[in-house]
């Protein structure tokens, strides 16, 4: 889905989001209140400039509008794979973005991610995945990398990975699998505007994704292992 169509459906009360070089920013009306919006479009790779632009927008909201909710719209093919980005420390730019989201949360901003088209690996980990809650549209693609590249690196035949991806949430792209593993809080099937209002009202503050993954049967060991380490007890599988 393109971002304009999305924005029309999400914000029947109107919005003032602008796009510049695939960087989205602005504000919108949600249920009578103002929400700030940042994000990316056109599956753009996240390089150092666009990571910094998103971080700058978040700190502007934190300074100018304390407590105002922030919605992060995710559409990226992943981090930009260029020598220059690595030379200048793209990991630091990504970390900076993640830390800005974290600061906003701790200062009372509700921060929600929405994957409306593609989400891949490094472009996702410090945007949607570090928000307090992340949602996706049903047709969204979410993955770490494509199966052919994964086959090359893991030395596991692509046919085997394809077969596993049929019913194993760990390998298959797609929002249902991230939902089962607790990485997504929900998938927005119908009225997007209503879903957004509900999500802003229900936003969790604690990171409960391991527990969600266990409850939903997609990630069975993370929660018991973390709990065993934390309490000094044995692992008690679900």
């Amino acid at each position: 889905m393109d971002w304009q169509t999305l924005a029309t459906q999400l914000f029947p009360g109107g919005h003032a989001i602008v796009e510049r070089d695939n960087f989205l920013s602005g504000s919108a009306q949600v249920d009578g209140a103002t929400v700030d919006v940042i994000g990316t479009s056109g599956h753009v790779p996240i390089g150092i400039e666009i990571a910094l632009a998103q971080a700058t927008a978040i700190l502007e909201t934190v300074q100018a509008h304390p407590g105002r909710p922030i919605l992060i719209l995710v559409d990226t093919q992943g981090q930009r794979l260029r020598h220059r980005d690595e030379m200048l420390g793209i990991n630091s730019y990504m970390a900076h973005l993640g830390k800005c989201v974290d600061l906003a949360r701790r200062q009372g901003h509700t921060v929600i991610g929405l994957v409306y088209d593609q989400a891949l690996s490094g472009g996702f980990i410090t945007s949607g995945l570090i928000a307090s809650a992340c949602y996706a549209l049903p047709q969204a693609t979410i993955r770490v990398m494509g199966l052919p590249a994964m086959a090359r690196i893991t030395k596991v035949p692509e046919e085997r990975l394809t077969e596993l991806a049929q019913d194993n949430p760990v390998f298959a792209p797609g929002p249902e699998n991230y939902l089962r593993m607790g990485g997504l809080h929900g998938i927005w099937e119908r009225d997007l505007a209503q879903e957004l209002v509900r999500a802003l009202a229900d936003c969790p503050h604690e990171d409960r994704r391991m527990a969600l993954g266990q409850e939903r049967g997609g990630r069975l060991l993370a929660q018991p292992v973390a709990a065993a380490v934390r309490t000094g007890s044995d692992v008690r599988p679900a």
Binding site: L52, A55, T56, L59, V62, L81, R82, H83, D85, E86, M87, L88, G89, N91, S92, Y93, A95, H96, G98, K99, D102, L103, R106, S121, G122, F124, I125, T126, I130, I142, R143, V144, M150, T154, V156, L164, N168, P169, V170, F171, A172, Y178, G183, D207, R209, M210, G213, R219, L220, L221, A222, Q223, V225, A226, A227, A228, V229, R230, D234, V235
Partner: protein, 307 residues
Amino acid sequence: MSSYLELTARQRIPAMFDAGSFEEFLPPSKRIASPHLAQLDAPVSYDDGVVVGRGLLGGHIVFGAAQEGAFMGGAVGEVHGAKLVGMLRRAIDEGAHAVLLLLESGGVRLHEANAGLIAVSEVMRAMLDVRAAGIPVVAVVGGANGCFGGMGIAARCANTVIMSEEGRLAMSGPEVIETANGVEEFDSRDRALVWRTTGGKHRYLLGDCQLLVADDTAAFRAAALEAIAALGAGAVGLTLEGLLAEQAMLARRLHDAEGVSEPMEIWRRLGVPDPARVPMLEADAFLTLAAQHRAGLPSDAAHTGEQ
């Protein structure tokens, strides 16, 4: 001198913590391994490639972890990530003096793709929770596999990053970039270029690493003690002022590196005389030189006026 780089994770722990003080949580005797590797006919490890626990450092209770580069490149899977998160949460529960992370990782473990990606984001949030609880987090990068992918991001969520000149800190590895965009973009076999782009000296000059030491376990331990002592005095959680300062540093870096594609040119623009000499310098000589020219901020903590 004894090399830190050549040690395994299990050798690094006693080299860094006070002798005999470290207690491992969920040790290999509990036989908890990855649930995902068997179906790919990949070997498992009963620590899933990471040691987590609690010990003493300079007499203080410090929680810690060490990733094992020899097991799947130190990459983070479901269990590996959950062990890190459990340890970080326990550090808060027990009011740790500090957390010390000995990082060596290729990032997300592709054999557990989606679960690994979520796990790394949970580790980042848990690290920031530790900082918000007033507990300093120090990351050490000095292993042969470097610190890449999501863990390269996680390292920069710590208050302080300690590196050796041999350590490498980045996001996408040179091979990944070469595969995606060709050998002209990044020649992964050009070891000198790889080092200039991701190595400890470059990161130190840029300001992405706060302490640089020789590849020596005693030097790493001394740096960890120094970092924790320095952080102990101030607030260690994220602050708006701290992030604005970091943002200014990152914006300035972008601006100053306009049109530059060679790390040595960045060093030259920072004012380093004869940048071609930098790779040859021993750690002490390098630090003397770098002190006048490096960009960046002190450790990511409440700034005490030395910005």
